[in-house]
């Protein structure tokens, strides 16, 4: 459509980019002395074609990734897929902040850490020590009065309970 219209009119070939701006950008190169109006026109037109091409490829990438908004990633991917464009643009493109960016946002699972309480350890130790002290104390009262009365069994008392021997 656009091509046909331009060819039919023959004269009115309107440029999308302002000539002054294009010329200024071309003049940034110090080696460039003079630029003819033809060259200026052709650079403007070729830049339009390049922009249209890159936009089209970026849109394709966005569609492949099921996105409605074209962003940096899609443009960068489009640049990579075209060898001539990649040659002069890949170095200029900023490196991606996240090389492997999944579609779904990764949510960090915050698991609460359970620290083993040192008191629990002490409690276990205390609990383990108490039965040793309580058992002989509890066992002595019922045995002592029963065995103390008969004087004929002093050996049995010593064998069963060494603690009374120490006390005597």
């Amino acid at each position: 459509m656009v091509m046909a219209e331009e060819e039919e009119s023959g004269v009115s070939i309107q440029l999308e980019f302002p000539k002054g701006r294009v010329k200024k950008i071309m003049a940034l190169d110090k080696d460039v002395k003079r630029v003819s109006s033809e060259a200026l026109f052709l650079v403007s037109r070729s830049t339009e074609l390049f922009l249209q091409f890159l936009a089209e490829k970026s849109a394709q990438v966005a569609i492949e990734k099921k996105r409605k908004t074209v962003n940096l990633e899609h443009i960068r991917e489009a640049v990579k897929r075209h060898q001539p464009t990649r040659d002069f643009l890949l170095d200029e493109l900023p490196p991606p902040s996240q090389p492997t960016k999944p579609d779904r946002p990764t949510q960090p699972a915050g698991r609460p850490k359970l620290d083993p309480p040192p008191r629990g350890t002490r409690r276990i130790d205390l609990f383990f020590r108490k039965p040793e002290l309580d058992d002989p104390a509890q066992a002595q009262p019922p045995e002592n009065p029963a065995q103390a009365q008969p004087p004929e069994n002093p050996d049995q008392d010593q064998a069963q309970s060494p603690v009374p021997v120490d006390e005597s």
């Binding site: 650079v43 002069f88 493109l93």
Partner: protein, 138 residues
């Protein structure tokens, strides 16, 4: 600094408009996407200009012309662009001729060709009437 940066790049409004013409109606462009595309096309101009300028320098010429641009595009791998640009160059030159003819026939407007652009500057007329001599034809 911001103005300098903007002056050295193509207007982002034009970039956005051309992108929208190419993209499907439902598609959108992020702000960062437009800015990156703006940098890409600006870099493209410098890239092609540098290549064309190198050719001029090797051939001891001072003015970059249309053929140099076509050659640069083809040399850099943009062959499709070179072909399209060649057609545009042809149309452009025809347009220039018609402009000149119209200016010459201004007193006798037999064929009124609609020209949407301003009339060519006198310098262009002098160029056509007196073609510039080739400094180093050999």
């Amino acid at each position: 600094m911001d103005q300098d940066v903007q002056d050295r790049a193509l207007p982002i409004a034009n970039v956005g408009r051309i992108m929208k013409q190419i993209l499907p109606p439902s598609a959108k462009i992020s702000k960062e996407g437009k800015q990156l595309m703006q940098e890409c096309v600006t870099e493209f101009i410098s890239f092609v200009t540098g290549e064309a300028s190198d050719k001029c320098h090797k051939e001891n010429r001072k003015t970059v012309n249309g053929d140099d641009i076509c050659w640069a595009l083809s040399s850099l791998g943009f062959d499709n662009y070179a072909e399209a640009i060649g057609r545009y160059l042809h149309i452009y030159r025809q347009g220039e001729r018609e402009k000149i003819n119209h200016t010459k026939k201004y007193e006798n407007p037999q064929n009124q060709t609609q020209i949407n652009r301003a009339p060519p500057p006198p310098l262009l007329l002098s160029r056509v009437e007196n073609p510039p001599p080739t400094n180093q034809s050999g």
